[in-house]
Subunit: 381 residues, 2 copies
């Protein structure tokens, strides 16, 4: 507490939102035997990334201020990738940011005035929720169907709604949203003068023959991406988004004020990762994720878990008699397993299990231990 | 313009605040012969920085998510530095951020609710002003005296004031604020339950026998620093601030939501820079800045310019008959000189001249050209 009558902001409702950071502070990594929280894949980036870092750290420009929207070579390479993805040039601008969280805040501050409403689908990605609170906008949380799919007819657009956020594949649900559904959501939004933000952090991680959604438009849509997942650069903090040109003035101003620009070393690493990670190389990672997914599926499928077709998560139901915070505490104390409580994502009767960052050997051990843990949790309900 | 009735945020009053990014877009670097806008010193970081980057790019952890508040070794090294600086352990927490702009936004969101007031002294650092607009708080701009010194009796603290921001040495004024004056400001603020944020980006750059202010407290003060200036790491985006422990929960949450953490490569670079940049090494840079400063002083002293005792700026008066935007356009078109308009800093009758990033040879040429340019500007008033 302050020794004076100093106070701090009322933006955060800290009970819920600071749970992750608080929890990880209290239960240090030393108590965690099986960490099933990480939103990163097991693999390290290709060796060309190291070479690019070594090369760029010898350049004077690396240490000087650079372009607000990012290195022009990286911007061009991303532009080509997006043209290919969307099968035509959508003519949108690219902004390279210090990770997609910073990108999301940039978008939020650019589009929403204080008091505006932002629609998030439950279960939501917690940083989106917290970012709304920080920006002084109201997160309006809308339920998805029983398989975590957004329902266009359930959208609660009001006169104050400024944007709708979808995450595909979902975090924590792992749910892939089809291109058709995205188009329907977009049409609904656009008619009402509401923006659609599509966060595709886990874009390449899809299973069971699914392909991820692929939707953009020249107006009314912002697509958000990261180098943290498919390119294994989480620790370097680099992501990007593409947005309509007429927002460029504000976007540059906001980017300059928050981040100035993304770290130059990280941008050079991202450029190498993008040039070197062929579609095949990423596809191999996804293939190697398949056995990990099946091993965990054998465990979680016993509890009416939705078979996520994307990401590397399962969002597992727990007995209604226990809070997800208590369940997490129980799992760490009794079994050394760290998972995320569903409450973080707006759904208190679930746990998020992430299997992406484990070796195949660790996967087997962790799944075995989780099997025991979930059985006890359900038996003691 | 949007093709629908989509709108964006009313946070920014874009005419003023986006001037820098817009201007630099319109007049590309190719038209600039003498760039006198850069807030970075001429020198490159020590070679140990490159070695640290090369070493860290071989580590798996570098690419994984890390601690929200930064690498523990860097946190400890900064802690030692601050203990030494403030001649005792103030017991405050350290947060490593992706540059001090991101740090400032973090502080603002942590301390201020929407609608609160933040006092900035004119001339203010433009990113502080814009950050207030983005955060939905009201920047209350207070005049300084004729030599750009904040006046405690002029503080317009209201019931809505949440914090007072001082920059020492000032940007753009170059004015060093004494420790005594900071203490007086702090006492006034603390009595009224108002926070004091002290931004010391240019801490080591002081002249004419001045030492920079050195003030902190266990409560009510946040000290903000960067690795961009004395350590020449601007392009890597890393800074830090120290703050009272009881804000840790919110600070971590906000940091996680905006930045996750600073880029690991940048943090390793900062650690090497901190370990290797002896006080002597930084002092040498400041000594080498002295002749550059004198060369420009010969030019700007003709126009009743304040002899800045810090930073590497002069804030030069221009005729009242011309706007600072027009003056900047005139200087670039006729003389190839790029400077910042005073309007950016809240004072339309000035130009900010930064001499920090030039070689001694460039300094002479640029000063010579500026001499002609200012003479014409004043002759044609």
């Amino acid at each position: 507490m302050s020794t004076s009558n100093l106070s701090s902001s009322n933006r955060l409702s800290l009970e819920e939102t600071s749970w992750v950071t608080q929890f990880l502070e209290t239960y240090g990594q030393e108590n965690v035997i099986y960490n099933l929280t990480m939103g990163t894949p097991f693999w390290s980036p290709p060796t060309s990334v190291q070479q690019a870092i070594i090369q760029s750290c010898g350049l004077t420009e690396t240490y000087r201020y650079g372009a607000t929207c990012g290195l022009s070579q990286l911007e061009k390479e991303i532009g080509k990738l997006l043209d290919l993805k969307f099968a035509s040039s959508c003519g949108n601008e690219v902004m390279i940011c210090s990770g997609s969280n910073q990108g999301f805040l940039n978008i939020l501050l650019c589009l929403c005035s204080p008091g505006d409403e932002v629609i998030l689908f439950r279960p939501y990605y917690f940083s989106h929720y917290t970012a709304c609170l920080l920006a002084g906008v109201k997160p309006v949380v809308v339920d998805t169907d029983s398989e975590f799919l957004p329902q266009p007819q359930g959208l609660r657009i009001s006169v104050n709604t400024k944007l709708v956020v979808v995450v595909s594949p979902g975090n924590p649900s792992g749910r892939v949203i089809s291109t058709d559904l995205l188009r329907s959501l977009y049409q609904l939004c656009f008619q009402r003068g509401v923006w659609l933000v599509i966060d595709e952090a886990y874009e390449h991680f899809t299973f069971d023959g699914m392909e991820n959604s692929c939707f953009s438009a020249t107006d009314g849509v912002i697509n958000l991406y990261t180098f943290s997942k498919s390119y294994s650069l989480a620790g370097l903090r680099v992501g990007y988004f593409c947005y309509p040109n007429y927002l460029r003035k504000s976007m540059l101003e906001i980017q300059d004020t928050i981040a100035t620009h993304a770290c130059h070393l990280a941008q050079h690493a991202a450029l190498a990762a993008l040039r070197d990670s062929s579609k095949e190389c990423i596809q191999n990672q996804v293939q190697e994720m398949v056995p990990r997914r099946e091993i965990f599926w054998q465990v979680v499928s016993k509890y009416n878990t939705y078979r996520a077709n994307g990401g590397f998560f399962f969002f597992v139901p727990i007995p209604k008699s226990i809070s997800s915070y208590d369940a997490v505490s129980y799992l760490i104390h009794k079994y050394g397993i760290l998972v995320f409580p569903g409450q973080l994502f707006g759904m208190p009767n679930y746990l998020r299990i992430s299997y992406g960052s484990l070796s195949l050997h660790e996967t087997k051990e962790a799944a075995n231990q989780l099997n025991k843990a979930l059985a006890t949790l359900w038996d003691n309900r």
